[in-house]
């Protein structure tokens, strides 16, 4: 019987944000993702460098320290292709530190789409191409091949699990959401229906969100969160099952929760304390799949995600602008790919980042909770406007450079 333990998994991502791209740029400028305006909130270089200083550098330094001091510390990461491209361009030292971290052999990298897209739900062939692109990129930079899959935003349903098994993955990640689990605990491995070997790992959202969302919230009745208190909650959770899956954004450390909240000190102490215990473990996701067997089949007919209180896709596809944007984007797939125009294909794929439609979400505007989410734009409507202007430019490039497709609107 394996010891109870924690599977820590951090998601690393930066999208290519569309700059304020006007109708006067359409058919004139084909530069969508970079702007000369230093102060622009959608300036990808400025944002990347800022987050590198606040999060990637200090957190990687801390991870390296913890890995070297504690032989039993292990974790898993997923790193998107668009993150890696931006890091290569603007912060190569961050790539180097990730390489050192992976080289310890105690940090696993997961498979996902290169562009952090929702392609699974719009075009399976394109989805598979993006997963393959990601695998190649990870192999090239880190020399490892992922064996466990996570879909963008942890978007999961039975088809995702079944696809992952067919694609050869031994595990897949999902949100341990109540409506899916009912009375069951997220602290076990499950098996998707109609599969034979793949394991489903579920995020313990209570314990994950205590760190990711609530850590610095002073109106939370548990604030301030101490490492002892948190460790006791993890212990209590083991009563329901031996595996606590702590899944969260990597940027929780230093970006969502700033350094002055004490998040780095909390992480340092908690990990060191936990690593020093002989009756408790850290598991990578692959370790967890070896250590524990699926306890039951778990059916997830509706798509779940790890986002906001609804835990569905409504933050990305909830309004008609988002659906129109995605429809227009994927309608171009065939014509774009056929051109074999690398620059055009890359631009099109970058526009598929789920972030682009997330910025168009209006679901927060009505409940006064607007400050709880981040967007580089003034409003969801501006996000849509710039995006649609870019879509028109893609059509224009198809027409004028390749003589295919047609202009609308």
């Amino acid at each position: 019987m394996s010891q109870p333990g924690i599977a820590l998994y951090l998601h690393v991502h930066q999208p290519y944000r569309v700059r304020p791209y006007t109708v006067f740029d359409t058919a004139d400028s084909h530069e969508y993702f970079s702007t000369t305006r230093d102060d622009a909130s959608s300036n990808n270089e400025v944002i990347f460098k800022k987050v590198a200083d606040k999060s990637y550098r200090p957190m990687n330094q801390l991870l390296e320290k913890l890995l070297s001091e504690n032989d039993s510390f292990k974790l898993s990461l997923s790193i998107t292709g668009t993150f890696l491209e931006q890091a290569e361009q603007w912060a190569p030292d961050v790539i180097a530190s990730f390489q050192r971290i992976i080289a310890t052999g105690r940090v696993e990298i997961l498979a996902e789409t290169y562009h952090h897209s929702l392609a699974f739900f719009y075009s399976l062939p394109e989805f598979e191409r993006q997963v393959a692109l990601h695998r190649k990129k990870i192999e090239a930079i880190f020399g490892v091949t992922p064996t466990v899959f996570r879909n963008t935003e942890l978007a999961y349903n039975d088809q995702v699990g079944q696809w992952a098994e067919k694609a050869g993955y031994k595990g897949v990640l999902a949100e341990g959401w109540d409506t899916v689990l009912d009375w069951r605990s997220p602290n076990h491995i499950y098996r998707p229906p109609a599969t034979n070997s793949i394991g489903l790992l579920l995020k313990n959202y209570q314990l994950s969100d205590d760190i990711a969302f609530r850590f610095s919230n002073q109106s939370w009745n548990e604030w301030p969160l101490t490492t002892d208190k948190y460790a006791s909650w993890v212990e209590n959770s083991f009563e329901k099952g031996p595996l606590v899956n702590l899944f969260m954004d990597y940027e929780t450390f230093g970006e969502h929760q700033w350094a002055d909240t004490g998040i780095f000190g909390f992480f340092d102490t908690f990990i060191s304390d936990w690593a020093s215990r002989e009756d408790r473990q850290f598991y990578t996701v692959s370790d967890a799949l070896s250590a524990f067997s699926p306890v039951a089949e778990l059916t997830v007919p509706q798509t779940t995600t790890w986002a906001d209180t609804e835990r569905d896709l409504s933050a990305w596809t909830g309004n008609s602008m988002q659906r129109e944007a995605l429809r227009h984007l994927y309608a171009l797939e065939h014509d774009i790919l056929r051109t074999e125009d690398t620059a055009l294909i890359t631009d099109w794929r970058r526009l598929g980042a789920s972030d682009a439609v997330y910025y168009m979400s209006t679901k927060w505007l009505d409940d006064g909770d607007v400050h709880a989410y981040f967007s580089p734009y003034d409003s969801p409507y501006d996000a849509f406007l710039y995006y649609i202007n870019v879509i028109r430019d893609l059509r224009w490039r198809l027409m004028s450079n390749h003589g295919t497709g047609h202009l609308h609107g």
């Binding site: 609530r214 986002a307 505007l365 709880a372 981040f374 409507y381 609107g409």
Partner: protein
Amino acid sequence: MKPRRLSLKGGVKQSAADGALFTQKNMNILMLGWELPPHNSGGLGVACYHLSKALARSGTTIDFVVPYDAEHPGIDFMNIHSATQIDPDFRYGLQAYDRDPTITKEFPDDSPINSMRAVQKKYVKYVEKLLDTVSPDVIHAHDWLTMEAGVRAKQISGAPLVVHVHATEFDRSGEQYGNPIVHEIEQEALLLADRIIAVSGITKSIIVHRYGIPADKVEVVHNAIDVSSFADYEYDMRTFKYLELLRSEGYTVAATVTRFTVQKGLTHFLRAAARASEKYDKLVYLFAGDGEQRDELIAMAAELGISDKVFFTGFVRGKQWRDAYSVADIFIMSSVSEPFGLTALEAAHHDSALIISRQSGVGEVLKHIFRYDFWDSDRLADQMIAIATSPSLASELTRGVKSEYARLTWDEVAVTCEQLYKRSMQGALV
């Protein structure tokens, strides 16, 4: 870079002291205004009417002074006092938004009754006399027109003065400085007022930064909309038949319903229309209203080569006025400086998508809108084209703003005013 909503929200604190205020006796308010419907030339009269009505509904007794003599059908919830015998329909140059370059600080002794200063002088005298018979708990004066009367009433009665700023001279004069005498009158009253109500954060900022008033003396109370006054209307598509025909052929109508003054930024709007037509030819523009800039705007449309796309209606009222909103797919508020901008809420009620300049206060209370800087014609053009070419964007904007505009009620405004009256009576500044 993908924070989600927090699962914990801070509770809204309600102080017990606020609640206790409502149990006291009804108040008597001396309300000093310049116009009431149907004798209004703009939003000032509408705001005064609805505010008074909501206050009366909650038990406040109001003596409302207007500078003219006329019937106000349907206003039976307060006492209306006429400061002069002037007929409201014949007071050219005396309306709330008229601007008179010959204004002097001193009240002229020999000027005819049809000058602004002469009417204001009569208004002050009338208020002085009125105070023999009424004893207000609070004096509530609206805009510079009645500020001197408000100050005088405070001196005589000792009651606290609340100055309600719907617009300052900076707003009325657009990108120019405005009339120094009016500035001076505003300055004095703002200094002497016990409390100041600003209709938006933008207006508060002007009061604080340009008149040097301490910020804690100024409270932002946004205007509201009375949806019930929009009942009994069905759009029959008959007033603007030509525009409706264009719409049926796929054209989009972008409209403004306003006074044609520099304050409204209409020249920038026209420039945006010309820019938009370079990229998209199925946008047409409805300029509903009238004002000193009318000829300039007509000439400018011709100069820009878009005369066939711009429709000037002249002054609209009643059904025509509502039809102007109804025919509009997009409502543009292009103001250079707009303290609030009630017309945006009216347009929202008639299913228009809204594009509001950042210099307009109403934008502070709406989220389902496009905003732009009044001078940024390219951005306005971009936003109009996006709405015209994307049905989903248009429907999200109109649906979204409909879900929020009706939450702004005059009853809530009245509650806030009552609390403010009580605090000013207690002499507390906060």
